[in-house]
């Protein structure tokens, strides 16, 4: 049995954790089976019968809306002989009928009908679809815990998860959001953990994204993450529980910098937000904008993008993303968000492909590292994550924070990793 305490230190991790298949199997169990995992947003299944397919770790699931309005997460696997019930990304159904022997399941996963019932002696109730033992949601964000042992969702989200989701949803005049009509999958030959890391790494921007910075120089990254080591006030934040954030708020020099517009250009949006929440709260949101952070282990809130980090093997993953759309705003406003998303996210965008190339280069270098090397007489394969450890401070609200370029976010992810992998 791997002792994860030996492979994750406070300021370093062992590279075998990105490459070893038995580590990956342990992660599917301890993180993706025993923990809370983000599944989707309930607006994706706004109407009864709408469904989308996802993976919780490697478990294929369907998220669907029942006629009574409740959202179900069901195994996408017929309880008869295991055929997938849905094989597209999304659709609409009144029930799920398996194409192999036509067993039919309700939107709640219960077995409703079996052809030629005379030969069938088992109790149908025992043959409903597998389902996560716990499903819960916060402001439309649906999470599931396959084995039921993870405790309440509120405890998992903690202050950090709630604060980040609140800041995102509170940008909407109605306090609610929906998602763009599609998700885009970005296939990367890297371990999945490189994405909680790089999505929330404030140190790499000047190098990995140098080409974006010099070819599109008027983005808000100028004021929030670039400049010298102490040249801006943005923070790398560890909220605890594995939730981490690059907090750009202290760096914004103007309201709506995150949207790249002035107030006059989106006056009706600003007026609606003020009418809904009062001038003080609305103006605060217009300055602060959306969060940039990770909800452990697989949900990245990338300003007005959502990304799901889907592990597919020890050395491959898919970075799925979509754009957040605000309810209660005009179409032109939401389309501006779509165009921003296309510039930043996905296989052909100006930003994330360079992270993907970097992650693949990292995978090339860690692929052969063995866990046993960590404690050998001549140890090999350790990688450093110590930057800024000595200047981390605890904020009055309990968050750990340091300079944007410090590895506080990465250490926060790995501390939670060590905790859950050691259970």
């Amino acid at each position: 049995m791997t002792n994860y305490g030996d492979l994750v230190g406070g300021d370093r991790v062992h590279a075998s954790l990105y490459a070893d298949e038995s580590v990956f199997a342990d992660e599917l169990d301890r993180i993706f089976t025993r923990g809370w995992v983000f599944v989707g947003h309930d607006s994706e299944v706004a109407e009864a019968g709408q469904w989308v397919t996802r993976r919780i770790g490697r478990e294929p699931v369907i998220m669907t809306r029942d006629r009574d309005g409740s959202v179900h997460v069901l195994a996408n696997r017929c309880s008869h002989r295991g055929t997938a019930l849905c094989w597209e990304h999304r659709g609409r159904a009144t029930s799920f009928q398996c194409n192999y022997h036509a067993w039919t399941f309700g939107l709640d996963g219960s077995l409703r009908a079996v052809p030629y019932p005379a030969g069938f002696e088992k109790d149908r109730v025992s043959l409903g679809l597998d389902r996560p033992a716990q499903v819960d949601s916060y402001r439309g964000f649906v999470f599931a815990n396959l084995d039921g042992s993870a405790g309440p969702l509120a405890a998992h989200l903690g202050r950090g998860g709630v604060d980040m989701i609140d800041r995102l949803c509170d940008l909407s005049p109605t306090g609610t959001i929906h998602l763009a009509p599609n998700w885009i999958g970005h296939q990367v030959h890297s371990n999945w953990k490189m994405w909680p890391e790089s999505d929330n790494d404030g140190y790499h921007l000047n190098w990995v994204h140098a080409s974006m910075v010099s070819s599109a120089p008027d983005t808000y990254y100028q004021e929030t993450v670039l400049g010298g080591e102490t040249g801006n006030q943005s923070l790398a934040v560890d909220w605890g529980d594995g939730h981490v954030e690059l907090d750009f708020r202290p760096s914004y020099r103007r309201e709506l910098a995150w949207l790249g517009v002035t107030r006059e250009r989106v006056a009706s949006y600003c007026d609606a937000l003020v009418a809904a929440r009062g001038a003080e709260a609305a103006n605060r949101s217009l300055w602060d904008g959306p969060p940039h952070g990770l909800i452990f282990p697989n949900l990245f809130l990338g300003e007005l993008n959502l990304a799901i980090i889907e592990p597919t093997s020890a050395s491959t993953m898919v970075h799925w993303h979509t754009a957040v759309q605000l309810d209660g705003v005009d179409e032109a406003f939401n389309r501006r968000i779509l165009r921003q998303s296309e510039a930043a996210m996905g296989p052909a965008a100006f930003i994330v492909p360079d992270d993907a190339a970097t992650a693949e280069r990292m995978q090339l270098a860690v692929d052969g590292v063995q866990p046993g090397w960590a404690s050998a007489a001549d140890p090999r394969g350790w990688i450093d994550m110590s930057r800024g450890l000595g200047r981390e401070r605890t904020e009055p609200d309990g968050r750990k924070a340091a300079l944007i370029s410090d590895e506080t976010t990465n250490r926060g992810f790995w501390r939670q990793y060590r905790t859950v992998m050691s259970r």
Binding site: I184, Q187, S211, S215, T322, E342
Partner: protein, 168 residues
């Protein structure tokens, strides 16, 4: 439906498509950009396209107006675009070229394209990019052809794709 054009005109149109393909394959960004109009649109949808679909309604892999296409090319020309450093080794095959419409110096063509890519930046995998391409070509004032729109409907659109940082 296909449009009647003279044999000479058809050869001229095809020659333009082959030139465009070769410049994209060889990452000759400035020469490629010289082929496009000031209102060029470059669209790679992220799923099957319904006839008459509005590219702006959802998320695309690429949905470039002329300004964003210029940014894309500037980024490639920095030499620091890691996703294309070094550039992918590319070879594309164009076939099934049809002239769908031809009026007043403006032409709509379609073709089938397969791009073979070795992603030399990291994984060095051979990747295939099959798709159907629609072009809108227009004559400039001097009579030469320019590209006003290129849409590439990948047969893999909607499934997870690796980096797509070269000119498709």
């Amino acid at each position: 439906m296909s449009a009647a054009v003279s044999e000479a005109e058809r050869r001229e149109l095809e020659a333009f498509l082959f030139l465009e393909a070769r410049l994209a394959d060889t990452s000759r960004y400035a020469e490629w950009e010289a082929l496009v109009t000031d209102d060029m649109s470059y669209w790679v949808p992220a799923g099957p396209v319904q006839p008459g679909a509005d590219p702006a309604a959802g998320l695309s892999y690429i949905n470039d107006n002329r300004a964003r296409l210029a940014t894309r090319i500037r980024q490639l020309q920095t030499g620091k675009r890691h996703a294309q450093t070094p550039v992918s080794r590319l070879a594309r095959s164009l076939s099934n070229i049809e002239v769908l419409a031809a009026t007043d110096g403006e032409y709509t063509l379609c073709a089938t394209q397969v791009v073979y890519e070795v992603a030399t930046q990291a994984s060095a995998r051979l990747q295939l990019w099959p798709g159907r391409v629609t072009y809108r070509l227009r004559r400039a004032e001097d009579g030469s052809l320019r590209m006003a729109a290129k849409t590439v409907e990948l047969v893999t659109a909607g499934e997870p794709l690796p980096n797509l940082a070269f000119l498709l």
